[in-house]
Protein backbone atom coordinates (compact mmCIF):
# COMPACT_ATOMS: atom_id res chain seq x y z
CA UNK A 1 0.00 0.00 0.00
CA UNK A 2 1.51 3.31 -1.02
CA UNK A 3 1.49 6.53 0.95
CA UNK A 4 -0.35 8.29 -1.83
CA UNK A 5 -3.79 7.43 -3.07
CA UNK A 6 -4.14 5.75 -6.45
CA UNK A 7 -6.99 5.11 -8.87
CA UNK A 8 -8.28 2.20 -6.85
CA UNK A 9 -7.93 3.10 -3.22
CA UNK A 10 -6.90 5.67 -0.67
CA UNK A 11 -3.21 5.78 0.26
CA UNK A 12 -1.99 5.04 3.75
CA UNK A 13 -1.64 8.75 4.62
CA UNK A 14 -5.28 9.44 3.74
CA UNK A 15 -6.35 6.33 5.66
CA UNK A 16 -4.28 7.34 8.66
CA UNK A 17 -5.85 10.80 8.74
CA UNK A 18 -9.35 9.41 8.25
CA UNK A 19 -9.25 6.84 11.04
CA UNK A 20 -7.16 8.73 13.57
CA UNK A 21 -9.35 11.81 13.25
CA UNK A 22 -12.50 9.65 13.38
CA UNK A 23 -11.30 7.97 16.56
CA UNK A 24 -10.03 11.25 18.04
CA UNK A 25 -13.15 13.29 17.40
CA UNK A 26 -15.61 10.59 18.51
CA UNK A 27 -13.62 9.59 21.57
CA UNK A 28 -12.97 13.17 22.57
CA UNK A 29 -16.61 14.11 21.95
CA UNK A 30 -17.85 11.35 24.26
CA UNK A 31 -15.14 12.27 26.78
CA UNK A 32 -16.35 15.89 26.66
CA UNK A 33 -19.93 14.84 27.37
CA UNK A 34 -18.77 12.83 30.41
CA UNK A 35 -16.82 15.69 32.06
CA UNK A 36 -19.34 16.04 34.87
CA UNK A 37 -18.54 12.52 36.07
CA UNK A 38 -15.23 13.80 37.46
CA UNK A 39 -15.25 13.15 41.19
CA UNK A 40 -13.23 16.23 42.17
CA UNK A 41 -12.66 19.71 40.78
CA UNK A 42 -8.98 18.90 40.17
CA UNK A 43 -9.88 15.75 38.26
CA UNK A 44 -12.20 17.81 36.11
CA UNK A 45 -9.40 20.33 35.53
CA UNK A 46 -7.13 17.48 34.41
CA UNK A 47 -9.81 15.84 32.27
CA UNK A 48 -10.58 19.15 30.60
CA UNK A 49 -6.85 19.69 29.97
CA UNK A 50 -6.69 16.28 28.29
CA UNK A 51 -9.87 16.99 26.30
CA UNK A 52 -8.41 20.30 25.07
CA UNK A 53 -5.08 18.67 24.18
CA UNK A 54 -6.79 15.94 22.16
CA UNK A 55 -9.02 18.54 20.49
CA UNK A 56 -6.03 20.65 19.46
CA UNK A 57 -4.38 17.52 18.07
CA UNK A 58 -7.51 16.76 16.03
CA UNK A 59 -7.53 20.33 14.73
CA UNK A 60 -3.87 20.11 13.66
CA UNK A 61 -4.47 16.73 12.02
CA UNK A 62 -7.60 18.03 10.26
CA UNK A 63 -5.66 20.95 8.75
CA UNK A 64 -2.84 18.63 7.67
CA UNK A 65 -5.43 16.27 6.25
CA UNK A 66 -7.05 18.99 4.17
CA UNK A 67 -3.63 20.05 2.88
CA UNK A 68 -2.79 16.45 2.04
CA UNK A 69 -6.10 15.86 0.34
CA UNK A 70 -5.53 18.96 -1.76
CA UNK A 71 -2.09 17.73 -2.81
CA UNK A 72 -2.88 14.03 -3.12
CA UNK A 73 -4.72 12.47 -6.04
CA UNK A 74 -7.81 10.56 -5.10
CA UNK A 75 -9.58 7.51 -6.36
CA UNK A 76 -12.51 8.30 -8.63
CA UNK A 77 -15.95 7.58 -7.22
CA UNK A 78 -17.26 4.09 -7.50
CA UNK A 79 -20.10 3.79 -10.00
CA UNK A 80 -23.27 5.02 -8.33
CA UNK A 81 -26.37 7.11 -9.17
CA UNK A 82 -25.82 10.84 -9.44
CA UNK A 83 -27.95 11.67 -6.37
CA UNK A 84 -25.89 9.32 -4.21
CA UNK A 85 -22.70 10.96 -5.41
CA UNK A 86 -24.06 14.41 -4.60
CA UNK A 87 -25.24 13.36 -1.13
CA UNK A 88 -21.90 11.68 -0.43
CA UNK A 89 -19.96 14.76 -1.52
CA UNK A 90 -22.17 17.08 0.52
CA UNK A 91 -21.77 14.82 3.55
CA UNK A 92 -17.99 14.79 3.14
CA UNK A 93 -17.93 18.58 2.79
CA UNK A 94 -19.97 19.09 5.96
CA UNK A 95 -17.79 16.59 7.86
CA UNK A 96 -14.62 18.42 6.84
CA UNK A 97 -16.12 21.69 8.03
CA UNK A 98 -17.22 20.09 11.32
CA UNK A 99 -13.89 18.46 12.17
CA UNK A 100 -12.33 21.91 11.92
CA UNK A 101 -15.19 23.84 13.55
CA UNK A 102 -15.64 21.49 16.51
CA UNK A 103 -12.14 22.01 17.96
CA UNK A 104 -12.16 25.68 16.93
CA UNK A 105 -15.44 26.21 18.80
CA UNK A 106 -13.84 24.56 21.84
CA UNK A 107 -10.91 26.96 21.54
CA UNK A 108 -13.38 29.84 21.33
CA UNK A 109 -15.33 28.53 24.35
CA UNK A 110 -12.08 28.22 26.30
CA UNK A 111 -11.08 31.77 25.35
CA UNK A 112 -14.46 33.15 26.42
CA UNK A 113 -14.05 31.53 29.86
CA UNK A 114 -10.55 33.00 30.16
CA UNK A 115 -8.91 29.65 30.95
CA UNK A 116 -5.39 28.70 29.88
CA UNK A 117 -4.98 26.48 26.82
CA UNK A 118 -2.11 24.07 27.11
CA UNK A 119 -1.17 21.18 24.82
CA UNK A 120 -0.31 18.12 26.93
CA UNK A 121 1.55 20.34 29.45
CA UNK A 122 4.08 21.22 26.73
CA UNK A 123 3.19 24.70 25.49
CA UNK A 124 0.37 27.23 25.68
CA UNK A 125 -1.75 28.68 22.93
CA UNK A 126 -3.23 32.17 22.95
CA UNK A 127 -6.89 32.99 23.41
CA UNK A 128 -8.90 33.58 20.21
CA UNK A 129 -11.02 36.30 21.84
CA UNK A 130 -11.11 38.19 25.11
CA UNK A 131 -12.72 36.69 28.22
CA UNK A 132 -16.45 37.33 28.19
CA UNK A 133 -18.68 35.77 30.83
CA UNK A 134 -21.81 36.78 28.93
CA UNK A 135 -20.87 34.46 26.04
CA UNK A 136 -19.94 31.48 28.21
CA UNK A 137 -23.21 29.55 27.95
CA UNK A 138 -23.62 30.31 24.26
CA UNK A 139 -20.08 29.13 23.48
CA UNK A 140 -20.59 25.98 25.51
CA UNK A 141 -23.85 25.30 23.65
CA UNK A 142 -22.28 25.88 20.24
CA UNK A 143 -19.38 23.56 21.07
CA UNK A 144 -21.64 20.78 22.35
CA UNK A 145 -24.30 21.01 19.67
CA UNK A 146 -21.71 20.97 16.90
CA UNK A 147 -20.80 17.51 18.21
CA UNK A 148 -24.43 16.35 18.14
CA UNK A 149 -24.69 17.71 14.61
CA UNK A 150 -21.50 15.87 13.67
CA UNK A 151 -23.02 12.62 15.00
CA UNK A 152 -26.10 13.25 12.87
CA UNK A 153 -24.05 13.77 9.72
CA UNK A 154 -21.97 10.75 10.67
CA UNK A 155 -25.09 8.57 10.58
CA UNK A 156 -25.45 9.46 6.88
CA UNK A 157 -21.72 8.96 6.25
CA UNK A 158 -21.47 5.57 7.98
CA UNK A 159 -24.88 4.52 6.69
CA UNK A 160 -23.84 5.28 3.12
CA UNK A 161 -20.54 3.45 3.48
CA UNK A 162 -22.25 0.37 4.95
CA UNK A 163 -24.94 0.48 2.29
CA UNK A 164 -22.28 0.37 -0.42
CA UNK A 165 -20.37 -2.32 1.40
CA UNK A 166 -23.24 -4.63 2.23
CA UNK A 167 -25.84 -4.07 -0.49
CA UNK A 168 -23.83 -2.81 -3.46
CA UNK A 169 -20.82 -4.94 -2.54
CA UNK A 170 -18.46 -2.32 -4.01
CA UNK A 171 -15.15 -0.87 -2.82
CA UNK A 172 -16.37 2.38 -1.24
CA UNK A 173 -15.64 1.15 2.30
CA UNK A 174 -12.93 -1.36 1.42
CA UNK A 175 -10.72 1.23 -0.20
CA UNK A 176 -10.65 3.26 3.05
CA UNK A 177 -10.26 0.33 5.45
CA UNK A 178 -6.79 0.15 7.06
CA UNK A 179 -6.17 -3.41 5.89
CA UNK A 180 -8.97 -3.64 3.34
CA UNK A 181 -8.70 -5.99 0.39
CA UNK A 182 -10.37 -4.66 -2.71
CA UNK A 183 -12.76 -6.62 -4.84
CA UNK A 184 -10.84 -7.35 -7.99
CA UNK A 185 -13.36 -6.50 -10.66
CA UNK A 186 -10.68 -7.05 -13.21
CA UNK A 187 -7.90 -9.23 -11.84
CA UNK A 188 -5.54 -8.18 -14.64
CA UNK A 189 -5.51 -4.64 -13.23
CA UNK A 190 -3.55 -6.16 -10.37
CA UNK A 191 -3.91 -3.55 -7.68
CA UNK A 192 -1.28 -4.19 -5.06
CA UNK A 193 -2.67 -3.75 -1.57
Amino acid sequence: MSLRSNDRQWGSVAKFFHWVIALGILGNGLFGLLMDLAHSPMQKINWLALHKSIGLTVLALALLRIAWRWADRRPPDEPMPRWQRLVAQATHGVLYVLIVLLPLSGWWFNSVTGKPLQWFKQFNLPALVAKNDALRDLAHGVHEYLFWFLLLVLVAHVGGALKHHVFDNDNVLRRMLPFGRLHQRNPSEGDQP
Binding site: S40, P41, M42, Q43, I45, N46, A49, G114, K115, P116, L117, Q118, K121, F123, N124, D133
Partner: protein, 181 residues
Protein backbone atom coordinates in the same frame (compact mmCIF):
# COMPACT_ATOMS: atom_id res chain seq x y z
CA UNK B 1 14.62 47.30 81.87
CA UNK B 2 13.93 50.92 81.13
CA UNK B 3 17.50 51.81 82.07
CA UNK B 4 18.81 49.13 79.75
CA UNK B 5 16.76 50.52 76.91
CA UNK B 6 18.12 53.99 77.51
CA UNK B 7 21.66 52.62 77.66
CA UNK B 8 21.11 50.76 74.42
CA UNK B 9 19.68 53.86 72.82
CA UNK B 10 22.75 55.79 73.83
CA UNK B 11 25.13 53.03 72.77
CA UNK B 12 23.48 52.59 69.37
CA UNK B 13 22.70 56.12 68.32
CA UNK B 14 20.64 54.97 65.35
CA UNK B 15 18.58 52.44 67.20
CA UNK B 16 15.81 54.74 68.19
CA UNK B 17 16.01 56.61 64.90
CA UNK B 18 14.50 54.01 62.56
CA UNK B 19 11.39 55.73 61.35
CA UNK B 20 7.88 54.43 61.79
CA UNK B 21 5.70 54.77 58.73
CA UNK B 22 2.04 54.49 58.02
CA UNK B 23 0.95 52.71 54.85
CA UNK B 24 -1.23 54.65 52.45
CA UNK B 25 -3.62 51.93 51.39
CA UNK B 26 -4.97 53.57 48.25
CA UNK B 27 -1.52 53.67 46.66
CA UNK B 28 -0.29 50.33 48.03
CA UNK B 29 -0.73 46.77 46.81
CA UNK B 30 0.03 43.33 48.18
CA UNK B 31 -0.29 40.33 45.96
CA UNK B 32 1.27 37.30 44.36
CA UNK B 33 1.71 35.57 41.05
CA UNK B 34 1.78 31.92 40.12
CA UNK B 35 1.17 29.68 37.15
CA UNK B 36 -1.86 27.57 36.31
CA UNK B 37 -1.59 25.18 33.35
CA UNK B 38 1.47 27.00 32.09
CA UNK B 39 -0.10 30.45 32.22
CA UNK B 40 0.81 32.99 34.85
CA UNK B 41 -1.88 34.76 36.83
CA UNK B 42 -1.79 37.40 39.51
CA UNK B 43 -3.73 37.83 42.71
CA UNK B 44 -4.24 40.77 45.04
CA UNK B 45 -5.32 41.04 48.64
CA UNK B 46 -7.50 44.05 49.32
CA UNK B 47 -7.38 43.78 53.12
CA UNK B 48 -4.10 43.82 54.98
CA UNK B 49 -2.22 45.90 57.48
CA UNK B 50 1.48 46.55 57.80
CA UNK B 51 3.49 48.12 60.61
CA UNK B 52 6.68 49.39 59.00
CA UNK B 53 9.72 50.64 60.85
CA UNK B 54 12.62 51.10 58.51
CA UNK B 55 15.93 52.87 58.21
CA UNK B 56 18.33 51.74 55.51
CA UNK B 57 21.18 53.02 57.69
CA UNK B 58 19.97 51.14 60.72
CA UNK B 59 18.64 47.79 59.65
CA UNK B 60 19.01 46.39 63.16
CA UNK B 61 16.23 48.64 64.37
CA UNK B 62 13.98 48.00 61.37
CA UNK B 63 10.95 45.79 61.46
CA UNK B 64 8.03 44.74 59.25
CA UNK B 65 4.90 43.23 60.68
CA UNK B 66 2.22 42.38 58.13
CA UNK B 67 -1.18 40.78 58.53
CA UNK B 68 -3.25 39.71 55.55
CA UNK B 69 -6.95 38.87 55.51
CA UNK B 70 -6.86 35.89 53.16
CA UNK B 71 -10.55 35.99 52.23
CA UNK B 72 -9.93 39.30 50.46
CA UNK B 73 -8.05 37.59 47.60
CA UNK B 74 -9.00 38.37 44.01
CA UNK B 75 -7.35 36.81 40.95
CA UNK B 76 -9.64 37.78 38.09
CA UNK B 77 -11.21 34.33 37.76
CA UNK B 78 -14.42 33.33 39.51
CA UNK B 79 -13.58 29.64 39.82
CA UNK B 80 -10.23 30.45 41.36
CA UNK B 81 -11.59 33.13 43.66
CA UNK B 82 -14.21 30.68 44.93
CA UNK B 83 -11.66 27.91 45.44
CA UNK B 84 -8.87 29.88 47.14
CA UNK B 85 -10.62 30.66 50.47
CA UNK B 86 -11.82 27.03 50.68
CA UNK B 87 -10.44 24.25 52.86
CA UNK B 88 -8.13 22.94 50.11
CA UNK B 89 -6.27 26.24 49.81
CA UNK B 90 -6.21 29.04 52.40
CA UNK B 91 -8.92 27.48 54.58
CA UNK B 92 -10.02 30.90 55.81
CA UNK B 93 -12.70 29.39 58.05
CA UNK B 94 -9.90 28.00 60.26
CA UNK B 95 -7.05 30.36 59.40
CA UNK B 96 -8.48 33.75 58.40
CA UNK B 97 -5.16 35.60 58.41
CA UNK B 98 -1.60 35.21 57.27
CA UNK B 99 1.10 36.89 59.34
CA UNK B 100 4.62 37.88 58.33
CA UNK B 101 7.05 39.37 60.80
CA UNK B 102 10.72 40.07 60.27
CA UNK B 103 13.37 38.48 62.44
CA UNK B 104 16.24 40.48 60.97
CA UNK B 105 17.65 42.32 57.98
CA UNK B 106 20.91 41.70 56.13
CA UNK B 107 22.84 43.02 53.17
CA UNK B 108 23.39 40.59 50.34
CA UNK B 109 25.13 41.58 47.10
CA UNK B 110 24.07 45.19 47.36
CA UNK B 111 20.50 44.22 48.21
CA UNK B 112 18.70 44.31 51.50
CA UNK B 113 17.06 41.05 52.49
CA UNK B 114 14.38 40.91 55.15
CA UNK B 115 14.37 37.54 56.89
CA UNK B 116 11.21 36.68 58.69
CA UNK B 117 8.62 34.09 59.48
CA UNK B 118 5.38 33.60 57.64
CA UNK B 119 2.45 32.01 59.38
CA UNK B 120 -0.04 30.73 56.85
CA UNK B 121 -2.69 28.04 57.25
CA UNK B 122 -1.39 27.18 60.71
CA UNK B 123 2.20 26.63 59.56
CA UNK B 124 5.06 28.96 60.50
CA UNK B 125 8.19 28.88 58.33
CA UNK B 126 11.02 31.24 57.43
CA UNK B 127 10.51 33.43 54.37
CA UNK B 128 12.93 36.03 52.99
CA UNK B 129 11.99 39.12 51.04
CA UNK B 130 14.14 41.41 48.93
CA UNK B 131 13.64 45.02 50.01
CA UNK B 132 13.80 48.11 47.81
CA UNK B 133 13.35 51.29 49.79
CA UNK B 134 13.22 54.67 48.10
CA UNK B 135 12.89 57.82 50.19
CA UNK B 136 10.90 60.53 48.49
CA UNK B 137 9.33 63.81 49.36
CA UNK B 138 6.83 63.29 52.16
CA UNK B 139 7.69 59.64 52.78
CA UNK B 140 9.03 56.68 50.86
CA UNK B 141 8.11 53.74 48.69
CA UNK B 142 8.88 50.23 49.83
CA UNK B 143 8.86 47.29 47.44
CA UNK B 144 9.34 43.74 48.62
CA UNK B 145 9.52 40.53 46.63
CA UNK B 146 10.03 36.95 47.63
CA UNK B 147 9.04 33.37 46.95
CA UNK B 148 6.74 31.26 49.05
CA UNK B 149 6.60 27.52 48.47
CA UNK B 150 2.87 26.93 48.75
CA UNK B 151 3.21 23.25 49.66
CA UNK B 152 5.37 24.16 52.69
CA UNK B 153 2.20 25.70 54.06
CA UNK B 154 -0.26 23.14 52.75
CA UNK B 155 -1.89 25.59 50.34
CA UNK B 156 -3.47 23.37 47.70
CA UNK B 157 -3.33 19.90 49.21
CA UNK B 158 -4.35 16.48 47.92
CA UNK B 159 -5.02 16.54 44.17
CA UNK B 160 -4.05 20.20 44.08
CA UNK B 161 -0.48 19.42 45.19
CA UNK B 162 0.37 18.64 41.53
CA UNK B 163 2.82 21.45 40.74
CA UNK B 164 2.75 20.62 37.02
CA UNK B 165 -0.75 22.12 37.04
CA UNK B 166 -0.54 24.72 39.83
CA UNK B 167 2.98 26.12 40.25
CA UNK B 168 4.73 25.37 43.54
CA UNK B 169 6.71 28.60 43.86
CA UNK B 170 4.44 31.56 44.48
CA UNK B 171 6.02 34.94 43.92
CA UNK B 172 4.87 37.41 46.54
CA UNK B 173 5.22 41.13 45.93
CA UNK B 174 4.11 44.25 47.71
CA UNK B 175 4.37 47.90 46.88
CA UNK B 176 3.87 50.22 49.83
CA UNK B 177 3.46 53.94 49.72
CA UNK B 178 4.72 55.15 53.09
CA UNK B 179 4.09 58.38 54.97
CA UNK B 180 5.99 59.30 58.13
CA UNK B 181 4.08 58.69 61.32
Amino acid sequence: MKRLAILLALALPGAAAAADYTVQPAASTLGFSNTFQGESFGGQFSQWTAAIRYDPGNLAASKFDVEVTLASVKTGDNDRDTALPGADFFDVAKFPKAHFVTTGFRQSGGKVIADGTLTLRGVTKPVSLEVTFKPQAGGATLDVAGTVKRLDFGVGTGDYADTSVIGGDVKVTAHLQLAPK
